[in-house]
């Protein structure tokens, strides 16, 4: 047990580090009922961009019949993920539909009408411990697995990183610090074996030595279930998987916070976990990797929490990717009172949605119907009173009030200088602000604006090359034209000269023969 003897300095630090917030959990709403399987909806909507990176490229045509697990769209680019059919049925086409995105814009999606047979393509099952690490990450990539905690970063890209640099420590994230959400909690309770096996497969893929599962201490049943499962299989000579309870505090489920809490190491500014030899995967991702490697099953379903004060029977559902939210809400008995706000994901980092036609995608952990009492707040943000609540709450140790003030004045560069790029967008600052200033929206805006500037810069550089190429081409064309003209001219002259020569020769010949003839005739 490498971490049972936590260093004393770490204990002290834990006492004095007071970052984060304690939003009311409200997890009991959905936590106590077993995961139910949602029946197939009349139509599945499968957006092509369900992950961070380039959208997938569709491979199917309208009218085509597909089977469960069949590849519908392939990954394109370095960071991307493929998309598979969640059930058998007919492709209706590719449409522009409302997708889960804070902008509320539409995006391309494959539409699939299930035929109810749920016929699957033959899958091959494997013993992961006879596979090469590179082969494991290749199969995880082919199964379209992305970070299930909501970040939707392609899991295989992370695994491949483990083959490049040495990553001894794997941390499975069972934090689930967002209020209301209990999908990971139920997964760990009911399918602990899958999570533990997934952890071992990931360790094999990255060549790691140890795995820790960090679970918030408000989920004692999940901790017990994981420990039992880890012990039951510990007889096999695989690396030890330990389950470590962490305090319940928002945002403990953030990668950076969990790493620091469990290992005492901090990720350098603008760095990645791999820089300090750690990899973090969500428990749901581990379970998905287990199914993909053991049974050859691509990622086509996930567990979603349906909760909120206005839902009749809040619970966790296992749904096919692409199911519209309305089907989930209907299955849970609809709403009991007026819904003030529909939220997809958790209330802290999730997105407010306008329509229930939006589908569940790979990263959706919850659907919340919040009633008036749950969203109560002042209508307008007040002025900043410089109370520094946000400074104390920021898990990264940034100064949100200063950053927001700089961004408000358009000074993005200075806000980057005081740490904007290290902001994880958790929203704790906005949550604790007594004036309810939308601090995190400033940061999201600034990050997007900086990314747009980078894109613009890249476009300018590319255009410069185009201009240079065009100029070079024009010059070459002009030169070739001149050369061709010169060649033609030379040809003409040569022809002329040849003609003149021929004429001269003819004349000479004529001159030579005529006298001879004359001579002949005379003689």
């Amino acid at each position: 047990m490498p971490f049972s003897t936590a260093p004393a300095r770490s204990l002290l630090r834990r006492l004095f580090e007071r970052w984060g917030a304690h939003p009311e959990g409200r997890k009991q709403l959905a936590a106590e009922t077993e995961i139910a399987t949602l029946p197939l909806p009349p139509q599945l909507i499968l957006p092509l961009a369900q992950h961070i990176g380039a959208p997938a490229r569709p491979l199917v045509q309208a009218g085509e019949r597909v089977l469960r697990g069949q590849l519908l769209a392939e990954a394109q680019g370095m960071i991307s993920a493929p998309l598979h059919a969640p059930t058998s049925g007919t492709i209706d086409g590719i449409g522009d539909v409302a997708v889960p995105h804070p902008s509320g814009l539409t995006g391309p999606a494959i539409l699939l009408t299930p035929d109810g047979l749920d016929e699957a393509i033959p899958a091959e099952s494997n013993d992961p411990f006879s596979l090469e690490p590179a082969e494991i990450s290749r199969r995880v990539a082919a199964a379209g697995i992305v970070g299930m905690g909501g970040a939707t970063f392609p899991a295989a890209v992370k695994l491949a990183l483990g083959q490049k640099t040495r990553i001894p420590t794997l941390i499975l994230n069972g934090g689930e610090c967002e209020p209301y959400l209990t999908c990971d909690d139920r997964l760990m309770r009911e399918r602990a074996d899958e999570v533990i096996d997934g952890a071992r497969i990931i360790l094999r893929a990255i060549g790691g030595d140890e795995a820790m599962i960090g679970v918030e201490d408000n989920k004692p049943e999940a901790i017990a279930a994981l420990r039992t499962a880890a012990l039951r299989t510990a007889a096999r000579d695989f690396a030890e998987v330990t389950v470590v309870p962490v305090p319940s505090r928002y945002p403990m489920g953030s990668e950076k916070q969990l790493i620091t809490w469990l290992t005492g190491k901090e990720i350098p500014a603008e760095g990645r976990p791999a820089d300090i030899g750690v990899m973090v995967q969500n428990v749901g991702t581990a379970a998905a990797i287990h199914r993909a490697i053991r049974f050859g099953e691509p990622l086509t379903r996930r567990i979603v929490t349906v909760s909120g004060g206005a839902i009749r029977t809040p619970r966790n559902l296992e749904v096919r990717i692409g199911t519209p939210l309305s089907a989930l809400v209907e299955f849970c008995g609809g709403t009991t009172r007026p819904v003030a706000r529909w939220v997809m994901g958790g209330p802290m980092m999730g997105l407010s949605i306008q329509s229930l036609d939006i589908p569940i995608i790979k990263g959706s952990g919850g659907v919340l119907a919040l009633c008036e009492a749950e969203v109560a707040g002042r209508p307008e943000p007040g002025p900043c009173i410089r109370c520094a609540s946000c400074v104390g709450a920021c898990p990264i140790g940034l100064m949100p009030l200063e950053m927001a003030a700089l961004i408000r004045n358009g000074d993005l560069k200075e806000s980057v200088a005081i740490g904007l790029k290290d902001c994880i967008g958790c929203g704790t600052c906005s949550f604790v602000c007594p004036s309810q200033i939308p601090l995190v929206q400033y940061f999201n805006h600034a990050k997007g604006e900086l990314a747009a500037q980078d894109r613009n810069k890249m476009k300018q550089d590319a255009i410069k090359q185009l201009v240079e190429a065009r100029d070079a081409r024009m010059e070459r064309e002009a030169r070739e034209k001149a050369e061709a003209a010169a060649r033609r001219k030379a040809e003409r002259e040569r022809a002329k000269a040849a003609a003149a020569e021929a004429a001269a020769a003819k004349a000479a010949a004529a001159a030579a023969t005529t006298p001879a003839k004359v001579e002949e005739t005379t003689t």
Partner: protein, 175 residues
Amino acid sequence: MLLAILSLSVLGITFGLLLGIAARFFHVERGGMEAEIEAMMPGTNCGQCGFPGCAGAASALVSGEAAPTCCPPGGLPLAEALALKLGVTLDAGAMQAQVPQIAEVREEICIGCTKCYKSCPTDAVLGAVKQIHAVIREACTGCAKCENVCPTGAIELKPVPVTLQTWVWPKPVSA
């Protein structure tokens, strides 16, 4: 005929010599600053700034006649870089008011005359004689040269469409 060739050659040589001497004699020393700034500009010579090409804009910038925000295709990043280079403060507000635009072909009235693609400084227009033309969005700078030569008004500038990949959180309005 010989006379014509001779006289034209003499004229050509004379004017050529005159031009050569003039280039020596009236040579203008291009400041290092001007050349450096010209290298920073997009180089399409689109003329949206109102100066004769990027070189003209560069000299206007150095002499202070033009603001660092004068180049629409360069956008905010270029304006910031120019302001830094020239040591002037940037009025970013004026820049953000302009929405970046790109050309779009109205296919129903395009006659396939190829005038636009011949005039495009970045090869962003794709087309051939009597074929409907199209604009490659990634390569278009919105310089409007094509708009000006189109005989049927089939090409026009439109704001760059916002997609899921390019959308940015809006700035909070108050507080």
